[in-house]
Symmetry: C3
Subunit: 356 residues, 3 copies
Amino acid sequence: MALLKNGWYCAATSAEVGDKPFARRILGLPVLLVRDSSGRVQAMSDMCPHRFAPLHKGVRMGDAVECPYHGLRFDLTSGRCVHNPHGDGRIPDTARIPKFPVEERQEVVWIWPGDPQLATPDSIPDLQLFAPGASGRVAGCMTMQVDYRLVLDNLLDLSHAVYLHAGTLAPSRAKREVTNINGETSIRVNSVMRDVATPSSLGLYFPAARGDVHSHIEWMAPGTFRQGLTITEVGADPEAGAITRNAHLITPETERSTHYFWFHSRNRLADNQSIDEGTRAILSKAFLTEDEPMIAACQSYQAGREFFSLTSVFLPTDRAGTRCRRIMERLIAGQTITSTDRPGTAPEFREKQESV
Amino acid sequence: MALLKNGWYCAATSAEVGDKPFARRILGLPVLLVRDSSGRVQAMSDMCPHRFAPLHKGVRMGDAVECPYHGLRFDLTSGRCVHNPHGDGRIPDTARIPKFPVEERQEVVWIWPGDPQLATPDSIPDLQLFAPGASGRVAGCMTMQVDYRLVLDNLLDLSHAVYLHAGTLAPSRAKREVTNINGETSIRVNSVMRDVATPSSLGLYFPAARGDVHSHIEWMAPGTFRQGLTITEVGADPEAGAITRNAHLITPETERSTHYFWFHSRNRLADNQSIDEGTRAILSKAFLTEDEPMIAACQSYQAGREFFSLTSVFLPTDRAGTRCRRIMERLIAGQTITSTDRPGTAPEFREKQESV
Amino acid sequence: MALLKNGWYCAATSAEVGDKPFARRILGLPVLLVRDSSGRVQAMSDMCPHRFAPLHKGVRMGDAVECPYHGLRFDLTSGRCVHNPHGDGRIPDTARIPKFPVEERQEVVWIWPGDPQLATPDSIPDLQLFAPGASGRVAGCMTMQVDYRLVLDNLLDLSHAVYLHAGTLAPSRAKREVTNINGETSIRVNSVMRDVATPSSLGLYFPAARGDVHSHIEWMAPGTFRQGLTITEVGADPEAGAITRNAHLITPETERSTHYFWFHSRNRLADNQSIDEGTRAILSKAFLTEDEPMIAACQSYQAGREFFSLTSVFLPTDRAGTRCRRIMERLIAGQTITSTDRPGTAPEFREKQESV
């Protein structure tokens, strides 16, 4: 198992979750997401504990959802079965659906897939985006067919940008000065490229042909990145530049596929919707047609072999990614595996199957 | 192994089997089906014992089939090689193809995939359909990408119909009174829904808007269901109603996919072909677009885990399905595994490979 | 492992390899093939030893290739990293790419995927084709989704041709007289079919309706076949006939898929390009629409079971194929497994991963 269950992950953007249930697989678990009648987001297993039917295909009935297969109804808040339409209508104690702790902040729905007792909303990171309205905001979501750890590696070593993203996000083959600042469960990587050609993505609102590009990216376990990316006149103070604040929220879908949510906000020409569109187009192109195929190709050549077993060439630019892998290994080793993916295996569900 | 080989299964409808060999996978075995020159159905392994070529692609030559790869010819009745076109033409003793016991009854071709010594044609069930000509008959066949046991569960608990098939086969959310009658290797489930809206499928020939719906469905191991489904005026005697007699014949294709043959006959407006067409359309829709996707979704969430290991919620409506699983487990545990899927592993085939 | 690494295989035709790198999987290994500035073919692992990126997607820079992910540059001749664009530019000793011995002969690029110390160019077979220019030549390449051993079997037992290839390569159901001549790591199979209908493929340049067809085919381990196929007037001297010389070069792509390169040359109407086209069409049809589907069907019925475990029917026509399997088993058992597929596992790569 290479997944950390005890952590806050982005389950969805606020805009994705409405009155109609929808399902998304998160850390291998099928999760139903929906707003209750008070507008609060509820997250629970999408698997009916009776015969494993997908609950999100059922009918919403007030603050309950009716299973589409045999009609059991489950309360969205408690997860308990509140109606058995068959026979004498008795409701077995085991007819409960695991609920997931969920918090909605800054237009992100955060989920804790692990032990609910350990969920600590205070540890949900502030994404530090520019506030909506005050600044141009663009967001997107995709699912990559790759191991999430290769996505963390990718974001922790931006030295790839001047090769893979020359033409979209970065100047071609420019030099980058890098400084790492390590935390217990976080890593900050600061870098600057001086006097380089303005990348297409920043050129949408930064008019000079050349500039200094400053990046401050911070990973917080398990899957949150927040990034300040700034371009200034050559030699100028970054505070005076075209400043963007970004978030990259990485949520494993399974052990081999990854949801990638991204958010972008800027301080210049914030009301210009054609710049929003241009930004969306360039970032989508970079993530979907440059990053994903490359990461998938690397994963294919890795061929299921454990990363460190391959004793690959190590460069100083790999320090942050390697440290991140070691932090994740330590956190995963320390977690107690919970059983939210199996109806009936948690202690309170162990009532014996009625004999027939 | 979760398949019972020693049992009679529907291999095909009579109409499917003609002079030209065709192949169908049954309990994982590739089976060639064809009529010999006397019109009798013959069933044998489709795999040439020489190099494993698919015999059904070969040329039919009288009551033999010629292998399409190297031209060995095999007799349809005995399975023995009757012609080796190469060299001195000597025919090795091992050049034989396993034959399967097969019986044709009531327009169904029954096969016994297990030990031929144990095949007992007397145990082939009478489907109790109305006779053709006397009544409207409709039949169909599909292959579902699901474990056959989930199909047995589905048919043994018709409480799902008022949810999954509301709009086709059943009234929405109606109450059903259920009685089970258990046999050693069979289960009968009788049920009635009183004073309910007439379902679309029965409304084709029952004019009242409401009625009582009686179902008598009987499972006989391993995969035969016969079902009387009747609608009457509210409170009336079922014998006076619109009576249908149905069969559902469930044959595992592999451990993860299932052939589903169904047959329908009725006592009313039996000569009306547009009712035949309407019935075919509604039943096909229900089985293909309602049952199969739901069962496949449940199987996907079950994720390969053994059913009972999941200690799912047990409802009284699950009694018949659970008992059926226990009967099948017992029958499977008691069977001697035969080797009809491997050329050369039966004792008479164990002649040593000629040394070269 | 059922692959012999220590042997010469066809990696590509000369025409396929140019200045732009391309990748082909050979014996499971991703191989980059390219010509250096002197025109010499170079073959090396396509997998960057840093993060496993596919090097053939990188930029060619003189006699080096730049990794498309992080920009390391590798020399085509030595495989060594010659440029690290990051930080202080230090190049780790481990930044080397395994090279494969490669030889270009008779328009074929030969590769040795195993231990380079054992590569012996002298053992590359002369294909004995008619020289280009002097005779009509046609060639083709395809990748079959089948175990290479089933392709060897196919070519070593041409008795299948009068069934599978009646209509293209062979007369229908004709008798063939066969003689085998065994070598240590080679097998020659000579055969003749007397007074048979002229096959379509030979009828393109042999006008008589009937003739004698002589075949001399020789397998040389691991995957080379050269074949003289001649048609003469009935009873005439083969030397006076329409003579073709052919090569079939069989290279495992993986354990379950196979590259098939074929070459054809003839002594009659050698300048007639419409005969070239006709030959290409018939041979392609035979290999792609007759051989591959049949071999794939046999493999499907074999269902992953080891061939000899199935104790299939053995015919005298199977002698050459069976002997070939035994020779390959012996050679594979005797080989030392090398590690060219893993960066860092060869002794010189075992430098410790830098600690972080």
